[in-house]
């Protein structure tokens, strides 16, 4: 064995890491779950190709004219069957051939039906020989970074860092206290700070895997943009994880039972799940509670990550949320060191 692996800090960190990897549920919640969530949200909120609108016509010639128009799918009906299809929503518009011309039957309160009306008329007129007065060309833009998945990935990242740091520290500390392992540890010459440092270091080791796997997935599958510098994003992840580790330590510093610590954890995390803008922007909450929302560590974490990934904002431009995060690291850590119950 080398000297490093004989050191107590290394051993404490390694043991913590091993225990995490041997806990299948923890591995699932931290590594697999955020990816599943991202996939689910990515599918639900994917940007669809422009819809093809279903329309109907009463003569084959008219159907042919409509089908030639872009964005329409035309079917031939007799007038009664067509009216029925329109009524049940199978088609958005029925074009009826009259001796004098064409009548469009549609619901003008339905936006899709109004679009169908425009497209159908253009197709019919073009088939009849109308020419455009002005030449027009299209240039299509699909901006990455403005999609829902781009918005939600930094949110999920922040939420995941919060959950893994708080559960990871809180549960295992209280378990060790309950099983009198903490007492046994302080009966040995182990420096107490190393016990807590072991948690933090193993957390940082996991963080690398957690963040790289999740963001790598988001990049490869959804093409989520990284506009800011990657090392600054790394710093943000580390700072976020440390702040929530400190909070987890605080929550676990006195609790004697798993039930007590679970309750406290949920009490601390639930407001942030709702208020901190994981799934939708935190600015939707009324102005009166905005100061409180901004002061939450998860809001600060997610804001800075979104700033980095979506707008390419530098750390220097995000001093306020960074200061909030740092305060959330220092204050709970200092308090929990004072009140920590070792037995």
């Amino acid at each position: 064995m080398s000297r490093l692996s004989e050191s107590s800090l290394f051993q404490l960190t390694a043991v913590r890491f091993l225990l995490f990897l041997r806990e299948p549920e923890a591995v699932f919640w931290i590594f697999i779950f955020p990816i599943l969530l991202a996939v689910g949200l990515g599918i639900a909120f994917r940007n669809r190709p422009p819809d093809v609108l279903p329309v109907g016509a009463t003569t084959p010639q008219l159907t042919q004219a409509l089908a030639a128009g872009k964005g329409l799918k035309a079917t031939t009906f007799d007038q009664i069957a067509g009216t029925h299809a329109l009524a049940v929503g199978d088609i958005l518009l029925l074009a009826i051939q009259n001796p004098g011309g064409v009548v469009y039957k549609y619901d003008d309160t339905n936006p899709d039906a109004r679009i169908a009306r425009l497209l159908a008329d253009r197709a019919v007129q073009a088939a009849a020989g109308r020419r455009d007065a002005v030449r027009a060309a299209n240039e299509l833009v699909h901006e990455t970074g403005s999609r829902y998945i781009d918005f939600v990935v930094p949110g999920l990242l922040g939420m995941n860092l919060m959950g893994s740091a708080m559960w990871g520290l809180g549960f295992s500390i209280v378990e060790a206290r309950q099983k009198k392992l903490l007492k046994r540890m302080v009966a040995s010459p182990m420096p107490r700070w190393q016990y807590l440092a072991g948690y933090v270091l193993s957390r940082l080791a996991m963080l690398v895997i957690e963040v790289v796997v999740f963001l790598g997935f988001a990049r490869l599958v959804f093409g989520v943009p990284f506009r800011g510098s990657l090392w600054q994003l790394g710093i943000l992840c580390v700072l976020t994880s440390l702040a929530f580790s400190a909070l987890g330590l605080l929550v676990a510093s006195r609790a004697k039972t798993m039930e007590a610590v679970s309750g406290l954890m949920n009490l601390v995390m639930l407001p942030m799940w709702i208020l901190s803008g994981v799934f939708f922007s935190a600015s939707r909450f009324p102005a009166i509670i905005q100061p409180a929302v901004r002061a939450l560590p998860l809001t600060a974490a997610i804001d800075t990550m979104r700033g980095n990934m979506l707008q390419g904002t530098t750390l220097a431009q995000m001093a306020a949320p960074l200061a909030i995060l740092t305060a959330w690291l220092i204050v709970p850590f200092a308090v929990s060191l004072r009140i920590f119950r070792w037995r």
Binding site: S7, V15, L18, K179, K180, K183, A187, S188
Partner: protein, 330 residues
């Protein structure tokens, strides 16, 4: 490696403090909200001695040993261990004592060897992890997870954790509580081996036979006080007889069916009489002459013997004699 130099320095230190006892307690007192757990304990344990704190649950044994281990701060009194104290020498002491606590549960998903490697890393000097596995006879379980160990194996692992630093003084708090008889005997053999190696051991137990079997000297504790102190032989001799005669009587042949205790204690060699759950106990010094007379005396009282047995006096009998209670009743 600095290990050899380290141990030489340690041995030199041991010589310097060699005339000091392993453990010296003076006027130790500790009260919790509603109960006085330790009520004025004085104690001295010599180097290389195996010392037992014996008493029922709640007698104050664990509080006493945890004060010695530096885990509990006494309200009053002084603790000196290996010539050091917890106020000024805590760091040094932690390195030099080995501790096994009651009911420590190691993480179930760690392997035996990983737990020991962790504990070994806390100490500057000590034996190798493999050596501690060998002493605790856990070779076959080296790579087994803690969760898969039996109760006895878990206790031996806790023992190995206490031994991995090659401590000068070993504290064992109820090392065999909750173990089956076979695992208990296995652990006794282990402690025996450590004793032979000349290590000072302080253990608590509420099993008299454990104290008798393992300890050079025993202190019997009750309600936070030491009520008797000496070698097991001295303590047993102190009750005034080496044998216990137990008997029960049934259905009177004639007479009133009462046992006349006065007639029994009048028999030469019978020291005392007591009744517990209709079993009569006599403390007897001359078994061979006393027993025929006891039987004769009972016959004269018109009583039928339904049971009769004798055994050598044990520390259990000492406790009963001192407190009027059975140890196991608590």
């Amino acid at each position: 490696m600095g290990a050899i130099a380290d141990s030489r320095i340690a041995r030199a230190g041991q010589r310097a403090a060699g005339d000091r006892p392993s453990l010296l307690l003076r006027g130790l007192r500790k009260a919790y909200a509603d109960v006085v757990a330790v009520d004025g304990v004085d104690l001295e344990v010599a180097r290389g001695e195996c010392f037992g704190l014996l008493g029922p649950n709640g007698a104050g044994k664990t509080t006493t040993i945890e004060i010695c281990e530096g885990l509990t701060v006494p309200d009053a009194g002084s603790v000196e261990i290996l010539g050091l104290n917890w106020q000024t020498g805590a760091k040094e002491l932690r390195q030099r004592i080995g501790i096994q606590l009651q009911e420590t549960q190691f993480p179930e998903k760690l392997k035996v060897v990983e737990v020991l490697r962790l504990f070994r890393s806390f100490f500057r000097r000590g034996i190798t992890v493999e050596e501690s596995i060998r002493i605790a006879q856990l070779e076959e379980k080296r790579n087994a997870r803690v969760g898969s160990l039996s109760g006895g194996q878990k206790q031996r692992l806790a023992m190995a954790c206490a031994l991995v630093s090659d401590p000068e003084l070993l504290f064992l708090d109820e090392p065999t509580t909750g173990l089956d008889p076979q695992a208990r005997r296995h652990l006794w053999d282990l402690v025996d081996g450590l004793k032979q190696a000349g290590r000072a051991i302080i253990l608590t137990t509420h099993y008299m036979e454990e104290a008798e079997r393992l300890c050079d000297r025993v202190a019997i504790m009750d309600h936070g006080k030491i009520i008797a102190l000496g070698t097991p032989q001295q303590l047993i001799a102190s009750v005034g007889g080496e044998h216990i005669v137990e008997f029960a009587v049934s259905g009177q042949a004639h007479g009133n069916g009462r046992v006349d205790a006065g007639a029994l204690t009048a028999i030469p060699g019978v020291q005392s009489h007591r009744v517990d759950a209709s079993i009569h106990q006599l403390l007897v010094s001359e078994l061979h002459t006393a027993v025929p007379r006891i039987i004769a005396a009972l016959g004269e009282q018109g009583l039928h013997l339904s049971e009769l047995r004798t055994h050598s006096a044990t520390l259990d009998d000492v406790f009963v004699r001192l407190t009027g209670r059975n140890l196991r009743d608590e």
